[in-house]
């Protein structure tokens, strides 16, 4: 009972934020700190306690996944040529998908904001790198980024990173020999992971399980912003699934968020301003579910582009064996990457190369899946561990109107609401860029004398789990959903935080840009409230 009372709406809320991932968490913290009465409604639970249960759930076969994803609450459908494994690509809970994420955080390059004017493809953003630069710096402080100014291809920056970079791995030094001969540059990977104590969290202690869980708290999760928001007075209601946003008669203002709690009760949270921060897929679903006479195609969708231009980054990779120890799987993150081909025009899609520190199997995980034990198992592990080496890459997918997130009205979730439909395919241009990534990877591995055992390229690629582009930002209300401040063109007090608003996605993991835009959104919103 007490539990359910705790899920009742908050009186006199200035701002209602839907979703407690990094986008919602940062906005909540900023606004609560500046004295606004903030309420956050989060569909998933709080994962309390230490993270050892999740560690075990990850390492040991036979247990449910660490973050309880994939039940009837999370039903979805996937259409289009390529299956989209949505529930592997998100987490619902306080902290959002950063509970599971890897934590590589790069700024987009300057060209990413101007692909159309520079190269005649994709779209321009209504803001450029310089507009976002100070917010990127703030976002790096917010997340706690360890990095170094050793990347000549990265966009200009004014300040050093908040923490020094993690030193390169032994396996990076193996790659370095080949890269040097081939004229390929290697640089450190900016990491939202403590290289030293930061923001009250531990430094990395080397559990090696960053994705999907960091038991030490060294990896940033948005739980830290949610906690800070609560300390500044925000109310965070977990297991509160927002099902509709309701507007006034004019259709120009949202007046309430209708949400359902675990006891089956539906409540209405009123507020002056609403921020939707549900991730690239659920954000669209919520707006589409909120259709009305005034907004027959979904809330804030007079342009008809809501849900369209869904993009992800595609993975390209290659790996095999060397004739010497490669020292993999000590830590769960990478320490070197290469942006050298990122700004190329042939192909124009961005390509970011990665040198992996977790190539091949981990002996402990292999042992738990083996069909033997004793000396026989030891022999198998001796053979399977020790000499693997691999490269990865993220490849840009350009926005296309026929990749979209919609509603599958035939299929409903456990509350009876239509599930999201992800309609996704991979175009030929993206496939060409994947081949290009494979080409560079092959040249490096060949130079090293690696016996290549596997390739992920145009024919068997998969998504990197970065949902972008479904509520694109632009100056023109006829062709975009939000303006450069991330406020919807159609509804004056409705804002969208998250990668939905990206007009293009580059090939950089999106969350630093999400965080920078969230910081920016918070200051625009604050200005309107005061």
């Amino acid at each position: 009972m007490a539990d359910e009372r705790a899920r009742a709406p908050v009186a006199d809320a200035d701002v209602c934020i839907v979703g407690a991932g990094p986008a919602g968490g940062i906005v909540a913290h900023r606004l609560a700190e500046s004295g606004q009465n903030v309420v956050v409604l989060e569909a998933g639970p709080r994962f309390d306690g230490d993270r050892r249960e999740q560690l075990e759930a990850h390492v040991r076969p036979g247990l449910d996944g660490p973050w309880e994803m994939g039940g009837p609450r999370d039903a979805f459908s996937s259409s289009g040529e390529s299956f989209y494994p949505l529930n592997a690509a998100r987490v619902k809970g306080v902290g959002g998908t950063t509970l599971h994420w890897q934590g590589m955080v790069m700024r987009l390059h300057e060209r990413d904001f101007e692909l159309d004017s520079r190269h005649g493809v994709g779209a321009d953003w209504p803001l450029d790198y310089d507009d976002l630069k100070p917010y990127y710096a703030e976002a790096e402080r917010e997340l706690g980024v360890a990095g170094a100014m050793d990347n000549p291809y990265a966009p200009p920056r004014d300040d050093p990173f908040p923490m020094t970079a993690f030193p390169p791995s032994h396996s990076d030094s193996i790659f370095a020999e080949a890269c040097e001969r081939l004229g390929l540059d290697m640089h450190s990977v900016p990491s939202a992971r403590n290289a030293e104590p930061y923001d009250g969290r531990s430094p990395c202690v080397g559990y090696g399980t960053c994705k999907p869980v960091c038991p030490s708290g060294a990896k940033y999760t948005a739980e830290s912003h949610v906690e800070k928001a609560e300390a500044a007075g925000a109310r965070v209601i977990d297991r509160a699934r927002v099902r509709r946003l309701e507007h006034d008669e004019s259709g120009e203002r949202v007046v309430a968020a209708a949400y359902t709690t675990p006891d089956g009760e539906t409540h209405r949270q009123a507020a002056d301003q609403f921020v939707v921060a549900c991730g690239g897929v659920e954000t669209v679903r919520l707006l589409l579910l909120s259709e009305s006479d005034r907004h027959p195609n979904g809330l804030a969708n007079s342009s008809g582009v809501l849900g369209r231009y869904f993009m992800d980054h595609l993975f390209a990779g290659m790996g095999g064996r060397l004739d010497r120890p490669t020292r993999q799987n000590h830590v769960g993150f990478n320490t070197s990457e290469c942006h050298q081909f990122y700004d190329d025009t042939e192909p124009v899609n961005g390509v970011k190369l990665e040198f992996l520190n977790y190539a091949g199997p981990s002996p402990v995980i292999d042992a738990l899946h083996a069909d033997t034990w004793g000396d026989e198992l030891l022999e198998q592990l001796d053979e399977s561990y020790g000499t693997h080496i691999s490269m990865g890459a993220l490849v840009e997918q350009l926005p296309r109107a026929d990749n979209y997130v919609g509603l599958d009205r035939e299929t409903t979730d456990d509350l009876g609401d239509p599930v999201p439909e992800v309609h996704w395919s991979i175009d030929d241009q993206t496939k060409t860029a994947l081949s290009r990534a494979n080409e560079v990877q092959a040249s490096v591995l060949d130079e090293l004398g690696v016996d290549v055992e596997w390739t992920v390229g145009p024919d068997n690629t998969g998504p990197a789990f970065h949902h972008m582009g479904t509520a694109r930002m632009g100056d023109d209300p006829d062709s975009s959903v939000v303006d450069a401040e991330c406020r919807t063109h159609d509804v004056r007090n409705l804002w969208i935080a998250g990668s939905s608003v990206f007009p293009t996605g580059g090939a950089m993991n999106p969350t630093l840009t999400i965080a920078a835009l969230a910081v920016r959104l918070a200051s625009s919103l604050r200005a309107r409230l005061s």
Binding site: P61, G62, P197, Y207, T209, V331, P363, G374, L377, L381
Partner: protein, 195 residues
């Protein structure tokens, strides 16, 4: 290659199980030989330790010594979770019953080869580990995989296959930078260095 109590404590620390009591109970000289004969344990717990140790002797590589002390420390730590202890005791008593049926003696009293045969004949090697599954699946989950996890997530077990900082062990951020395993002792406190 010798397993130590420190190894078991390191794995337990990775699972969030720390504290002096673990060290104390295993410092009891009557318990240190790992035969489960320790004075004031209840019989189910004694059987559990004896059976887990007997299983570890076949599940671990033959060159490994120090199994008794290691398993006792580890299982004692895991038993702090009463429901896990109950599930382990149940499956261990079922295993004993099968051993009595097939070989006329409890599992721990069988020759090592017979223990190995029994587990294989029970289909444990090919079974999925399922905590709520049939007896073979539960033996896989609560006995074999529990023991394999403890071993290969420990610094000494990891070293045997070339990794002194295995997944699940908070072995710091130096090892990934090194070209080869250092010769050093496992650092049992590493897992407590968190916040």
């Amino acid at each position: 290659m010798r397993l130590t109590r420190r190894d078991a404590l390191a794995v337990l620390a990775g699972l969030g199980i720390t504290g002096g009591a673990l060290g104390l109970s295993t410092l009891d000289p009557t318990a240190a030989d790992g035969d489960g004969s320790s004075g004031d344990r209840d019989p189910a717990e004694t059987d559990l330790l004896a059976t887990m140790t007997a299983a570890a002797e076949v599940v671990y590589p033959s060159q490994v010594t120090g199994v008794g002390e290691f398993v006792e420390t580890y299982v004692t730590g895991r038993s702090r979770d009463a429901s896990r202890q109950a599930a382990m005791e149940t499956v261990v008593s079922e295993l004993d019953e099968i051993a009595r049926d097939w070989h006329g003696a409890p599992f721990a009293d069988l020759a090592a080869d017979d223990r190995d045969d029994l587990l294989r004949e029970l289909g444990v090697a090919d079974s999925e580990p399922v905590p709520e599954g049939n007896v073979s699946e539960r033996v896989r989950f609560y006995v074999v995989n529990e023991l394999l996890y403890a071993f290969y997530a420990s610094p000494t077990g990891g070293r045997l296959v070339g990794i002194e900082n295995p997944i699940g062990h908070a072995g710091g951020t130096d090892s990934y930078q090194r070209a080869a395993m250092d010769g050093g002792q496992s650092d049992v406190n590493a897992g407590e260095n968190d916040g």
